[in-house]
Amino acid sequence: MKDRLLGVGNIVMEKARRKGLDAEVFLLYDKELSIEVVDGQVETLKEAEETGMGIRVINQGRLGFAYTTNLEESVLQEMLDRAVGSSRYTTVDENNMLPEGAFTYPPMETYDPAIRQATLEEKTAMAREVETVARAYDKRISVIERSGYEDSEYLLVIINTQGVEAVEKGAFCGLYAYLVAEEDGDAQTGFSLMARKHFGELNPREVGCEAARNAVRMLKGRTIPSQSIPCVLEPYVVTNFLGILSNSVNADSVQKGKSLFAGKVGEQVAASELVLVDDGVYEKGIASFPFDGEGVPAQRTVLMENGILKGFLYDSYTARKDGTTSTGNGVRSSFRSLPGVGTTNFFFSPGPTRPADLVRDISRGLYITEVMGMHTANPISGDFSVGAAGIMIEYGELTRPVRGITIAGNLKDFLLNIEGIGNDLRFFGGTGAPTLRLKALSIAGE
């Protein structure tokens, strides 16, 4: 497969050079497996294989793009022509440039052969164990919505006319469970996810238990009166906020006036202990890879240190616009789209405090375990008002579950109001966070 993709890529490059074009090919081969288990049976087995190519051209400062799933030699010229054709109508922008190679890429382990070597039966057994463990955890677990195993392996080839040639393969695997606990007519959901680069690190027991625990602890939750009280946020809830924050540190948003951090580099934007990092070479990170979607080497970028905004994430285009260099954040979701600024392993560094100690001296507060509708938060103004659920904190103890409330505020205040950082950094995919404690959040209830 590697030879085939390289072959196709080099043919396209040759055709582009002959026309004097600046061009790039992005070729992807991807193979996925998912096993979903219900009542011990494989309810859905899915196997997929996909190959595709995206061609980006820069034609006298104009950007063109075309993609196809057909890699036969006969269509390559047509695809290149399509890309050139679309460039006729885009606006000239001197910052449209392909990265210039050749690069040296950081060595890293991205492919664990054990994922491919494990048999379908072994993988199915793991998925079954997640379900069994979850059911056995508590008799109030009534429904396993979905539980299963997934893996993916892929091969990426990026070649451009400016000397970039990047080739690497990767793989990851994961387990998940989504379930429901019921008691006296009240139903609550819980879930758990685990994604790893190494097959041997998957732990079905942990996934099953956590999903069950998350559902059971919320049973019989009730709303509370509207008020403003100290809040402690679980890592998963914090990663939801990071999803919104990632937009604000994206140079593209900043340059287009869509970030609340525009013009704020060097300023205090968060509590003084807070460190925000994007790290494409983080050893354990699921999103670690030697290069980004345009072949630029991955790196570690500190975005906030001691609460001070240090800078932004860049791809080649935005970097050139700001007269700086790409941070290796030209992310590409598939061969179907152009690269754009995105995150790799994006996280708040852990602090010194045990999560239990963050709760201990709160006489009345809320431990937030779930937020709903985070995508409705406004990434530009930072305003958010989202559904939430959690557990009351009374005199340092987690007491009764709470649901049917909204929490509202602005991201700027959120960051400045952080007064405690847990030592429990945890990743959900490429986004990670420790438990955080906030001075206060505005809660709307009954």
Binding site: V42, G52, E145, T189, K256, T406, S442
Partner: protein, 461 residues
């Protein structure tokens, strides 16, 4: 798209280890996307994609394999993978295909392929300019244009052979306005099963102006008060609420898995008597229109709630089989890369008797929602949350002032029971609905309605 003899071979291979149902879904699509930001045409994408998904169902369990290698060998490989799940003895099936043809003609007056790039770009720029002309507070405008022309072939072991095609277009404007450190956004979108004649009906510049006006209005808005209050939802708000708070819970897969508050409630009262909810794939030109769903069942009109009483769910083939019913034509998939699951098409609350204006004038105090933003629902307990993009405070039956930052939190069945007034109008909105990692185009609608009490979340306590 494929020869019968090849399809036959592939289906036979898929069913070679047994199984109750085998299917091949072949799709080709041509897409164009134009994106304008920062006053310039930033991206133009043109894509061409082909692929096939093969499905085998055995005792209610599914194996699905897809590939974009459409050679006979590539397809047979995928078929062998899909044959994995089957239990029981091998079957030698005989296939005698019956061709089923669409009942509705698609009226695409300006097919995307026939509209030159230049024209599409003119439209995008017109929306951009109109939005920027709204004033100095407009800081950013993005305009997205997208069209897709799709052809599918669906053939299955029951002998169905369906060839269908569909064309969809979408035009979206987002505006950012800022003043004194306050940033607000405005949004508008149109889309349908249509060609670019859609922009003759609603001109691009009008969409730009509307989005800009909304963003500017929200700059003037006061922070929304929090608490429980009556909420009037204008028909202009579209049907996000009915889609999220009710529609998802009526999809048969969620019901069967026990993940819906509406489970076991057929024949029971689940909403106020003046509320009927309908899913209708046959609405011509609407964004969720289907002639056939993605497993070859005909798109249809399905009454879900009839005058407050739950009368039906939305089914695909697999879930219909489990309930010993027939599919309601709601089996949809994002592409050949996904198996079909029950999804909505065009979902709405049916209009009622009240004059929309009098609903507002009869409300002493409350929140008027004129444009909804996104939302999320927990189908298991019915809890939902929605963002309000354009909201106003009603006092003494009059619209007093705009408010920003509002969200609505509530519970689906509770909210439906609390609808005490239903207007005679009906307004549609379009969206891309996500479920199980698959996005499909839908529309939703509602008349102007009043909900007696909802929790309004806001920044002003």
């Amino acid at each position: 798209m494929l020869d019968r003899s090849i399809v036959e071979k592939v289906l036979k291979e898929a069913m070679s280890k047994g199984g109750d149902f085998g299917e091949i879904y072949v799709e080709s699509r041509v897409v164009t996307n134009v994106f304008c930001e920062d006053n310039k045409i930033e991206r133009i994408h043109s894509g061409y994609e082909k692929g096939a998904g093969i499905r085998v169902i055995s005792e209610g369990n599914t194996a699905y394999a897809f590939t974009n290698d459409l050679s006979t060998n590539g397809l047979l490989n995928a078929a062998r993978m899909a044959a994995h799940v089957a239990r029981g003895s091998s079957r030698d099936i005989t296939l005698d295909f019956t061709v089923r043809i669409p009942e509705q003609a698609l009226e695409i007056r300006k097919p995307p392929a026939a509209v030159p790039f230049e024209t599409k770009i003119e439209k995008v720029l017109a929306a951009n300019e109109a939005a920027r002309e709204a004033g100095d507070y407009i800081k950013q405008v993005t305009v997205g244009l997208a069209d897709v022309e799709k052809k599918v072939l669906i053939a299955n072991s029951l002998g169905d052979w369906i060839e269908d095609e569909i064309t969809r277009v979408r035009f979206v404007v987002n505006v950012v306005a800022a003043r004194d450190g306050l940033i607000q956004t405005g949004y508008d979108a149109i889309g349908g099963v249509a060609g670019w004649e859609l922009l003759d009906e609603v001109p691009a510049d009008e969409l730009g102006r509307k989005s800009a006006r909304r963003a500017l209005l929200m700059l003037e808005a006061r922070p929304c008060p929090a608490g429980r209050m009556p909420v009037v939802m204008s028909s202009e708000a579209g049907g996000t609420m009915v889609h999220e708070a009710c529609g998802h819970g009526l999809e048969a897969d969620l019901v069967q898995k026990g993940l819906s508050v509406y489970r076991g409630k057929l024949g029971q009262k689940v909403a106020a008597s003046n509320v009927s909810v309908i899913d209708d794939a046959t609405l011509k030109g609407k964004y969720g229109q289907l002639r056939f769903d993605d497993e070859g069942s005909r798109g249809q009109r399905t009454v879900l709630i009839d005058q407050g009483v739950l009368v039906g769910y939305m089914y695909d083939r697999l879930t219909a089989e489990k309930d010993q019913r027939v599919s309601t034509g709601n089996g949809r998939r994002e592409s050949y890369q996904h198996k079909p699951i029950p999804r909505m098409t065009n979902t709405f609350i049916a209009p009622g008797p009240e004059d929309p204006g009098s609903i507002i004038s009869n409300t002493p105090r409350g929140l008027l929602v004129r444009k909804m933003g996104g939302g999320q629902v927990n189908t298991t307990n019915g809890d939902f949350v929605f963002e309000v993009q354009e909201g106003y405070i009603i006092e003494n039956g009059e619209i007093k002032y705009p408010v920003r930052g509002a969200t609505l939190t509530g519970n689906g069945p509770e909210a439906l029971k609390n609808i005490d007034m239903v207007g005679s109008d009906l307004g549609f909105a379009i969206g891309q609905c996500g479920k199980d990692g698959q996005g499909v185009p839908v529309s939703d609608a509602q008349p102007t309605i009043r909900i007696r009490q909802l929790t309004v979340g806001g920044t002003s306590l």
